[in-house]
């Protein structure tokens, strides 16, 4: 994997928050919409961007698309994701994202099956 591509993916705040969330659990589009508070188009397009660069993979589950980090990740990606988590540990927005995610995992509407996949 090309380092530059990783940084290109990282250099938009929305994508950064998405990737950060994906380090915790696979998620579907509606989860992102809900947690990030961003419109569907925006979420969907950023996911397409990430997908085209092999930073995430997607599988369909009925009506839902479940996005996750690739099973097998280049070490550069691993390193940078770890670094990211480190850097945002005390960042208000990223912390709130994690909280919202935790809440979703309990309360969740529908595609709760998603979270079963989190056992990677």
């Amino acid at each position: 994997m090309d380092l530059i591509q990783i940084y290109e993916c990282f250099c938009d705040r929305t994508r950064l928050r998405m990737l950060h969330l994906l380090t915790v659990s696979p998620l579907c589009v509606c989860h992102f919409q809900c947690i990030l508070g961003e419109p569907q188009v925006k979420v969907s397009k950023h996911l397409a961007y990430l997908r085209s660069r092999k930073m995430v993979v997607a599988i369909r589950e009925g009506n839902w698309m479940i996005y996750s980090l690739p099973q097998k990740r280049a070490s550069e990606l691993e390193n940078n994701l770890r670094c990211l988590r480190d850097c945002v540990r005390s960042d208000a927005i990223f912390r709130r994202d994690l909280k919202k995610l935790a809440a979703l995992r309990k309360s969740c509407c529908e595609p709760a099956a998603v979270f079963a996949l989190a056992s990677r």
Copy 2:
């Protein structure tokens, strides 16, 4: 310091190589030209880009401009620079850059005073 800005600076290969080199030693424009094999404009403009985002600082030394990482660096920057060095440890281009730098430090033409500053 804003994480996004860091990644924006990181997402061009020339800038990435520059920052990587600066983790070793302050350097002037002509050093970058020589090590990277890129024309003066390109080097100069990328340095301006980095400077405008506070990723590097510059001081004048006669005809030369000496660029270095800021003395006091945000922890995010430190983390990411460390991560970068880690990621490129076995990368051919980055390794060659380091070799060329080492060579320059011995043979160097003129603004050798630069390297005295490396004792940070």
